[in-house]
């Protein structure tokens, strides 16, 4: 059975290789092949899942050791996989949602002449992501970690002819690299501390390590997580990443890749349990991002950017939960899964909308679309209800659990975190309602001249919204189902908790307030959020040109100036630094050498003058030389 694990990765990898090296002759069939192989991977995942369910809770871990990857004295990295419940969850999510989005892309990318390569990249991503979650040691995880980074780079910049896309891709990769620095340093720390970085041995030895070391490792892992999961302070790339095709945003920048940070932290539970300070920082980062994303989401008029903000915020929830320790791990993952469903659904919905609107992304130019694209409206609506936590839908359960857990942390921290999560829930309700209203309600606001913010397809004539083809709507429907029922399914009989508990551990904590009150509070926040949104965008007509808005709005539109800060400090500063260094290299380092050469030349030129052609002056030099010679010899004797 465990020999199947490698196949999980091999199938999409094969797809990537074939599609990318295959050349034009695959243009016709490539997308089918890609989708098929993703589906194959999902199929294998299901088989393994069934097998896993068949076994007892404690021997559900499968391992497969292919070969020793890097054998160096004292440094062993194996090409080995480990499939436990946690990995299983991700495998199903990745390959499942992945497959759906492959299907969706068939329709979405129909008119792109580079569709084959797009599917190649998608397969590459799936393979890398699976490697990430299946690795049994941190170095291999790092392999997958950078692999998904590469895929994300390629897909964000898929429309490379758009400078904005290329820049966004580069930005995403660089910011992630900063996170990767954290990961590699963490691995080095583990190596020096434990002499290994394989999950099992490390977690087994955590007890003996000093808390300082563990905290350091934890913080470095957190840095990595921040990079990949777009958490403050490394969140800036996610917004720009929306330059990529929408399926990419759905799969990579909503459902799967961005949640890798959460996986990393939950996976490293043992380390974090030993480092409470690190955990505290994690929760803080989570809380900050939660609000940050939410606020940004409120102000964006670009539908994808708004959703991106929301993604940031939702992942903030998960990170926060993961930071809570055993109380929260399970719920972090649970929210991750449900979020995978509804956020992917929302993005696909957004994609479908743009598809119908000549790739227009400005929500202020939408309006009243529910009549034109009913399926999109319904699926998007369900996703919307799910995310704001409408009772009974999946978001409701998972988010509620996290809020409870936050309170359960206890002490003032508990109150603060709980408060933040509640507030977040309110803001989520607000901005999602805003998106909903701006897009599907009110009267049509689109003009004949569509802006060119879309891809090359963005042409100037009057957009006539229409429903998307089956290949796009079907996945949306399926995801909508997921977003409706997943939560309940997990929650009934605490299935999910029992499922993951052996891996992540669980402790109930001590909630200062009862679950009922928390739920009630959440509902209140929810209604408030929706209410305000309705008041602002539902009742009165929405201006097509965004009003100047309050200071906070403007700040939020500019991502709270965080990007500007980066630009001024890092980009500009960096440019100056490199320029000055180039100058130094040319004039100082090189100048010294050339200077020496020049001075030798000058000296030579001067000495040359002595050779003035007059025999008598030569005689003089000889005479003087002799005199000196004699004097010197006598002097030698004297001293």
């Amino acid at each position: 059975m465990e020999n199947l694990i490698a196949l999980l990765i091999a199938a999409p990898l094969l797809g990537a290789v074939v599609l990318l090296c295959g050349g034009r002759r695959l243009d016709k069939t490539g997308h089918w092949l890609g989708t098929l192989l993703a589906a194959v991977s999902f199929g294998i995942g299901v088989v393994l899942f069934a097998d896993m369910l068949g076994r007892g809770a404690d021997d559900r871990t499968l391992t497969q050791n292919l070969y020793t990857w890097i054998p160096v004295e004292g440094f062993q990295a194996d090409m080995a996989f480990q499939l436990d419940q946690l990995s299983m969850t991700f495998v199903l999510l990745i390959s499942g949602v992945g497959t759906l989005i492959h299907v969706y892309s068939i329709g979405y990318m129909e008119h792109d002449e580079r569709r084959r390569r797009f599917f190649g990249y998608l397969n590459l991503f799936v393979a890398a992501m699976l490697l990430l979650v299946l690795a049994d040691n941190y170095l291999l995880l790092y392999f997958g970690w950078e692999g998904v980074g590469l895929a994300s780079y390629l897909l964000i910049g898929f429309w490379q002819h758009k400078p904005s896309a290329a820049t966004a891709a580069k930005k995403a990769f660089l910011v992630n690299r900063v996170g990767d620095m954290g990961l590699s340093i963490a691995i080095m720390l583990m190596f020096t501390t434990f002499g290994t970085f394989a999950f099992g041995p490390v977690f087994g030895a955590v007890g003996e390590a000093s808390e300082g070391k563990l905290t350091a490792i934890g913080l470095m892992l957190l840095l990595a997580a921040c990079g990949k999961s777009a958490q403050v302070p490394l969140q800036s790339w996610l917004g720009d990443a929306m330059e990529g095709p929408t399926p990419v945003s759905a799969l990579i920048h909503a459902a799967t890749m961005v949640t890798a940070g959460v996986y990393l932290i939950v996976r490293s539970a043992a380390v974090f349990n030993g480092a409470p300070d690190a955990q505290l920082v994690v929760t803080v980062v989570g809380a900050v991002t939660l609000l940050f994303g939410a606020i940004v989401g409120c102000a964006k008029d670009d539908i994808k950017k708004a959703l991106a903000g929301s993604t940031m915020s939702q992942i903030g929830y998960m990170i926060l939960a993961a930071g809570l320790g055993p109380i929260g791990y399970v719920f972090a993952i649970m929210h991750l899964v449900t979020h995978g469903f509804f956020k992917a659904g929302l993005f696909l919905g957004a994609g479908s909308v743009m598809h119908g609107m000549n790739d227009e992304v400005d929500m202020r130019k939408y309006g009243g679309l529910r009549k034109y694209m009913p399926v999109t409206f319904v699926t998007f609506g369900l996703g919307y209800l799910a995310i704001i936590g409408f009772p009974g839908l999946s978001g409701f359960f998972s988010k509620d659990m996290i809020i409870e857990a936050a309170f359960a942390k206890g002490g003032t921290e508990g109150w603060i975190l709980g408060g933040v999560t509640l507030l977040g829930a309110g803001i989520t309700a607000f901005y999602m309602t805003r998106v909903m209203l701006l897009t599907f309600f009110g009267e049509k606001r689109w003009q004949p001249t569509a802006s060119d913010s879309g891809s090359a397809a963005g042409s100037g004539h009057e957009p006539h919204p229409h429903e998307s083809p089956k290949s796009m709507t079907v996945p949306m429907v399926i995801l909508a189902f997921g977003s409706v029922f997943a939560g309940a399914f997990f929650e009934i009989g605490e299935r999910f908790l029992k499922w993951l508990e052996p891996v992540t551990g669980y402790s109930h904590g001590n909630p200062p307030v009862s679950a009922m009150t928390v739920t009630a509070a959440t509902m209140v926040m929810l209604l408030v959020g929706v209410g305000i949104a309705w008041a602002m965008y539902g009742k009165r007509p929405v201006p097509v040109v965004a009003p100047r808005g309050s200071f906070l709005t403007r700040a939020a539109r500019r991502d709270l100036y965080q990007d500007d800060f980066n630009h001024v400090v890092l980009v500009r500063g960096g440019e100056h630094l490199t320029r000055s260094l180039v100058y130094v290299d040319h004039s100082l380092v090189d100048g010294v050498v050339n200077g020496t050469a020049a001075s030798v030349g000058g000296l030579s030129g001067r000495l040359r003058k002595l050779q003035n052609g007059y025999a008598r002056s030569y005689a003089v030099s000889m005479f003087g030389g002799t005199a000196i010679l004699i004097a010197a010899t006598l002097l030698m004797r004297a001293v």
Partner: protein, 551 residues
């Protein structure tokens, strides 16, 4: 010496003694054969000038010279094989001449170098034929004023200065004696014997005769000046030791002399005599090796003299002069080591640096090579200073390597010509590698050898000299030597850049196709350069066995 004192005792006694009491000096003709053969050939050469019809003189002279040199070299080899270089080494000709390892090795080197040099002397294909007569690089009639009718007539008549061959032979003879001289008088005579012909040879260039004559004058005046210093030094040393024999002086210096008469006792105490005398003699020798600050004649003379002569001079003179210097410092003045070593240190350092630095901005190939020869003199001095068997060995080896590279290089210079004769200005050498790759490649090999790049004789020699110096405790000298060879490398490389990397000029010079004579010279030069670079062991052994002086 013994004869002289005995003669002196006679002289102070009554005059009635019959003259036949003076014992005839015993001369070991066999062991002096190399020198005697060359001198004899030179004399015969003069007679040839007198009696052989002009048409055939050239051939006779060339044959005579080559035969003499060859047989002289054979004699040297025979002596060396006979063990005179090592076991049977001794002092011949009543203490005037030493027959020992260094002497034989250097004489062999000089003779070989002279053979290839004579080839270039005899080259007659480079200059365009004048009035149907093939001409070499020497004036038709040195006596006639440049541009005058008499010169034109001489050219028309197809005269050639075949006297250069006997002159060269005389010079060679002097050079053979110079490193072997075992008393100061012989040293002085030998010096003059090889200097005077060289002065004349400098003056007989066919092209650019003004420069040639100027070179001769400068060389002559400065040479005479320096030899006057040398002579005065000899006088002072004689005054100090009461003899000019190396052995005696050495004994006196060491204080190991047995019989001390009162006069000697008086002068022995006076170190000023010794030191000044030594210094003055050193001046004379350093002038010949072209060490700073006695080097200033080299660039002018090297440039003005006919190129074959320059090559001959640059190679053979250095060998002979360094031989004499070695013998003087190792046989006569070892007792003074602590006095002259620091001074020679200074001289070596200044020579290496000045030679390398000034060469950087030279624009004429021959002057460039002149300054490079100055720098090399500095390197060789580093070996001289080692005062050890390794030192001698390294110097002998270096001289062997250096002389062939030099002659080869100057032979190449004779090939690159334009309307005005040899095109020695560097700017004319631009793009030579494009026009005639082979010539340029050969010259590049020589330049690399000068620069001491591995796999050439230059590197082996440099390594030998520097390692000897380092073992002699002159580490700092090695470092400075290394630095100056870095500077030197710069200008050798400049020439290579010029030849290969810059576009050829439209009015650039042509490369004359030489006769087998010059070709042999160049080929031998290249061969020796590479052999000494790749498999130097045999010659190192030779030099090693030859590295002990007889005293």
């Amino acid at each position: 010496m013994s004869t002289l004192t005995s003669a002196h005792s006679l002289w102070t006694l009554a005059a009635d003694t019959p003259a036949d009491r003076i014992p005839a000096p015993t001369i070991e003709y066999a062991q002096l054969a190399p020198t005697l053969i060359v001198v004899g050939a030179a004399v015969v050469g003069i007679l040839v000038e007198a009696f052989v019809p002009r048409r055939s003189r050239y051939y006779v002279q060339v044959f005579l010279a080559l035969a003499a040199l060859a047989s002289a070299f054979a004699a040297v080899v025979g002596l060396a094989a006979g063990g005179y270089g090592s076991s049977k080494a001794h002092i011949a000709a009543m203490g005037a001449i030493a027959v020992d390892g260094p002497a034989l090795f250097l004489q062999g080197t000089i003779l070989l170098a002279s053979v290839v040099a004579v080839f270039t002397f005899a080259e007659r294909r480079l200059d365009p034929a004048a009035h149907g007569n093939r001409v070499d690089s020497f004036a038709a009639q040195a006596a006639s004023v440049p541009g005058s009718d008499s010169e034109k007539a001489a050219v028309k008549a197809g005269f050639t200065t075949t006297e250069v061959f006997p002159l060269a032979l005389f010079a060679i003879a002097g050079m053979l004696i110079f490193p072997a001289a075992n008393d100061l008088l012989t040293l002085f005579v030998a010096l003059e014997v090889f200097s005077l012909p060289l002065y004349l040879l400098c003056a007989v260039a066919r092209r650019q005769r003004l420069m040639s004559q100027e070179a001769a004058v400068k060389y002559f005046l400065l040479g005479a000046f320096s030899s006057a210093f040398l002579l005065f030094g000899i006088a002072l040393l004689y005054g100090y030791a009461g003899s000019v024999s190396y052995a005696v002086i050495a004994d006196v210096v060491d204080g190991t002399i047995t019989k001390i008469d009162p006069a000697l006792a008086g002068t022995m105490g006076n170190d000023a005599l010794l030191l000044m005398g030594g210094a003055l003699i050193l001046t004379g020798l350093l002038f010949k090796v072209g060490a700073v600050p006695f080097h200033m004649w080299t660039p002018d003379v090297y440039q003005g003299a006919p190129t074959p002569v320059t090559g001959f001079m640059a190679a053979a003179t250095k060998v002979a002069a360094f031989g004499a210097l070695l013998r003087l410092l190792y046989v006569v003045l070892p007792g003074l080591r602590w006095d002259w070593r620091p001074v020679m240190w200074a001289v070596a350092i200044v020579t290496m640096l000045a030679g390398a630095v000034i060469a950087v901005t030279q624009t004429d190939v021959k002057r460039l090579l002149a300054y490079s020869s100055v720098a090399h003199a500095g390197f060789i001095l580093a070996g001289v200073i080692a005062t050890s068997a390794e030192g001698v060995q390294s110097v002998l080896f270096y001289l062997l390597a250096y002389s062939f590279v030099t002659i080869g290089a100057f032979a190449v210079v004779t090939l690159v010509r334009d309307a005005g004769g040899e095109a020695t200005h560097l700017s004319k050498w631009a793009g030579l590698g494009r026009r005639s790759p082979l010539t340029a490649a050969v010259f590049a090999v020589f330049l690399l050898a000068f620069a001491g790049i591995p796999l050439t004789s230059g590197f082996t020699g440099k390594f030998a000299v520097f390692s000897a110096a380092a073992e002699g405790g002159a580490g700092a000298l090695v470092v400075i030597g290394v630095l100056s060879s870095a500077i030197a490398a710069f200008f050798y490389i400049r020439v290579i850049v010029l030849m290969f990397f810059s576009e050829p000029k439209a009015d650039g010079p042509t490369v004359a196709v030489p006769s087998p004579l010059t070709m042999t010279t160049i080929a031998v030069g290249v061969a020796v350069t590479l052999v000494l670079g790749l498999a130097p062991q045999y010659f190192l052994d030779l030099a090693g066995q030859a590295s002990t002086f007889v005293r």
